[in-house]
């Protein structure tokens, strides 16, 4: 039965996403590789991969913050507090290296806290890619920064990253991204094919697993999903937006899907945003990576594009997806998101698109309150439909 096959195909992804750092440690323990963590956004994991090491996008783990409170205030965003908490408890010591991106003041300060707390065995770097896209010389700056990062990684790996290897890594990552796009397109066509929970899991697994193996599993999953006939729509079709830096907790995704709505599309970090853009495969690979970093197709408020681009982009994406409304998930204290939020509100109001904003926190609190809001939103949409 195709259901059983689908479940089997999903199993390795679920395992990796449920215990992301155990997956990474297992890789390391089997002597296969060194592991280098990187923070969102835009970090070109291909560079780490081409050096023969496992790139790991830092994950927000489930435990509430405890020891971390000796190092960070409670009014910092969840991913920052979680990372600092893990560091304080020795939970990040297995990394050989960590590269943070300077995307917002909290991310930068998380890096500084970690630099202060972690043992010297975890080598750290801060990648300062341009935060203002209109500046002169932005491409050269990016290239130079990539060169610095490459040097750091080579030092860590104890070997050079050859252009040939980098080009191959780019091709592998492009392939994986293409497969993810295919999966998500299949779900836009028929959301019942794969729950949003599982879609999240599939993306997150790809942030910690060896990428070759991941690619093979993705191809298998895509085959299974393509065999699933499109189902009749039930429930309101909605667009899920937000969470720039980490995925929403699965409890919240379950809550959303539990109201009976169908998530047709999204722009989450652990969703479309992660695999939206490929790097070119011709020309010098480092330049291709620089161009991918500077690509403005998917606006991101952690850098200045001069036009609050995400607001208009969101409206376009919602219209293309056929969704009847949107749920905006904002991680509490995420300033890049909060500053563009009023513009998103205005754009959605002008476009006549109903939306519900939900603030999420690292510690999952007030699920009941969220349930009430979601249900009220659906009731609103249902009445509008009559």
């Amino acid at each position: 039965m195709s259901d059983k096959r689908l479940e089997r195909a999903l199993a390795p992804f679920r395992e990796a996403a449920a215990r992301p750092y155990d997956t990474v440690k297992a890789c390391k323990a089997s002597g296969r590789t060194q592991v280098v963590g990187c923070s969102p956004m835009h970090f070109p994991e291909e560079l780490i991969h081409a050096a023969g090491m496992l790139p790991v996008v830092l994950q927000e783990t489930e435990e509430p913050v405890t020891e971390g409170f000796a190092h960070v205030h409670p009014f910092f965003c969840g991913i920052t507090r979680n990372a600092i908490d893990l560091a304080a408890r020795g939970g990040l010591d297995f990394f050989d290296g960590l590269i943070y991106s300077d995307i917002c003041i909290q991310n930068r300060n998380a890096a500084l806290s970690l630099k202060h707390i972690l043992p010297k065995g975890v080598r750290m770097a801060l990648a300062q890619f341009p935060t203002v896209l209109s500046r002169d010389g932005v491409f050269e700056d990016t290239l130079r920064e990539l060169g610095k990062v490459r040097g750091f990684i080579e030092n860590l790996a104890g070997r050079r990253i050859e252009d040939q290897a980098l080009a191959e890594s780019i091709r592998l990552f492009n392939r994986n991204r293409g497969l993810l796009r295919r999966l998500f397109d299949l779900c836009r066509e028929s959301p019942g094919r794969l729950s949003m929970r599982d879609r999240q899991i599939v993306v997150r697994a790809g942030m910690v697993m060896p990428r070759e193996e991941y690619g093979r599993l993705l191809a298998g999953l895509a085959t299974e999903l393509e065999a699933v006939e499109p189902m009749t729509r039930s429930g309101q079709p909605l667009f899920l937006s937000g969470h720039l830096c980490q995925g929403p907790k699965l409890d919240i995704v379950d809550l959303i899907e539990g109201t009976g709505v169908e998530i047709v599309d999204d722009d989450l970090y652990t969703g479309r945003r992660y695999f939206a853009l490929d790097a070119e495969t011709d020309g010098p690979p480092l330049e291709a990576l620089a161009r991918r970093i500077l690509d403005r197709t998917v606006p991101v408020p952690t850098r200045s594009d001069g036009e609050m681009g995400w607001a208009g982009y969101l409206v376009d994406r919602i219209r293309q997806s056929g969704a009847r409304g949107a749920i905006l998930l904002i991680a509490k204290y995420c300033e890049p998101h909060l500053f563009v939020y009023p513009f998103m509100k205005a754009a959605l109001a002008e476009a006549g698109i109903p939306y519900l904003m939900l603030e999420t926190e690292h510690e999952v609190v007030s699920l009941e309150g969220m349930r009430t809001r979601l249900q009220a939103f659906v009731e609103m949409l249902d009445r509008k439909a009559i």
Partner: protein, 259 residues
């Protein structure tokens, strides 16, 4: 089976309303409890039925709402208190565009579209600041019955400045002000200002349209109402029984579903 019922199960009170096919309210009951559970919810329904001279089989449809709406085993469907407060307020005050509900544990603002449906809403349910609980804690700190708080607050000419963002902060401020000899009148007025400010910023999140109505137990507090009327620059409509607006809305949804 020509009647419909709505039961609003909050954390401190259970409210039931019964309406007939013409949407007349034939009975209602509010049951107060330390813990509101299925038994308390059932009791409020039984009491309302008894008052109307009906029994359970006369109810063609029952809708539950409130915090405990999915907790109880009875009921044909559940609808959130947002939709129910909007519905109930719209019934009582046709044309109302903003509804403010301040209950025991939470508060909300609902903006209605011209047809009476929910247009937008904002909730404060993460902490007690600005809710009935806040008033209770402060009343205890001042050794005053809650029912006196509102009228007393109107008599002050210089309300004390009290935090609106945290009940614990506010309580320690009240104690400190008392110790420094500040008059109880001014402190009570300050508490009402704090509740009003908190509610006002919730209103701002949603946008204010007139006319404005209030529901929930705290609507009976004339002090809070006066502060809100001043901050918002508008009169506030209040039903004689503000606590049952949610249950009324639920009953009206149930009525819709009657064949």
């Amino acid at each position: 089976m020509t009647y419909a019922a709505g039961v609003d199960i909050g954390s401190l009170t259970a409210k039931s309303v019964i309406v007939d096919r013409d949407c007349h309210v034939v009975a209602y009951r509010v049951v107060q409890g330390l813990i509101v559970d299925e038994a308390a919810a059932s009791e409020s329904l039984s009491l309302a039925l008894a008052e109307a001279g009906l029994d359970r089989s006369d109810i063609g449809c029952l809708v539950t709402t409130g915090y405990g709406r999915s907790m109880v085993g009875f009921g044909d469907r559940n609808v959130t208190e947002i939709s129910c407060h909007a519905r109930g307020a719209h019934f009582l005050f046709p044309g109302v565009r903003t509804v403010m509900d301040i209950g025991g544990q939470d508060s909300k603002v609902i903006s209605l579209s011209p047809d009476g449906g929910v247009g937008n809403f904002a909730m404060n349910d993460k902490c007690a600041a600005g809710t009935g609980r806040f008033l209770e804690v402060m009343a205890q700190a001042l050794d005053l019955p809650i029912s006196e708080m509102g009228p007393l607050s109107l008599r002050s000419e210089a309300p004390a400045s009290i935090s609106s963002i945290c009940t614990v902060f506010a309580e320690s401020e009240v104690i400190s002000l008392k110790a420094r000899g500040r008059s109880r009148l001014d402190i009570v007025a300050g508490i009402h200002e704090a509740i009003g400010r908190r509610m006002h910023s919730l209103v701002k999140q949603v946008g204010m349209g007139r006319p404005v109505a209030m529901s929930g137990g705290v609507a009976k507090n004339v002090g809070v109402v006066r502060v809100l009327e001043r901050l918002m620059g508008t009169d506030i409509l209040r039903p004689p029984e503000p606590q049952i607006v949610g249950a009324l809305g639920a009953a009206l949804f149930a009525r819709e579903a009657l064949a």
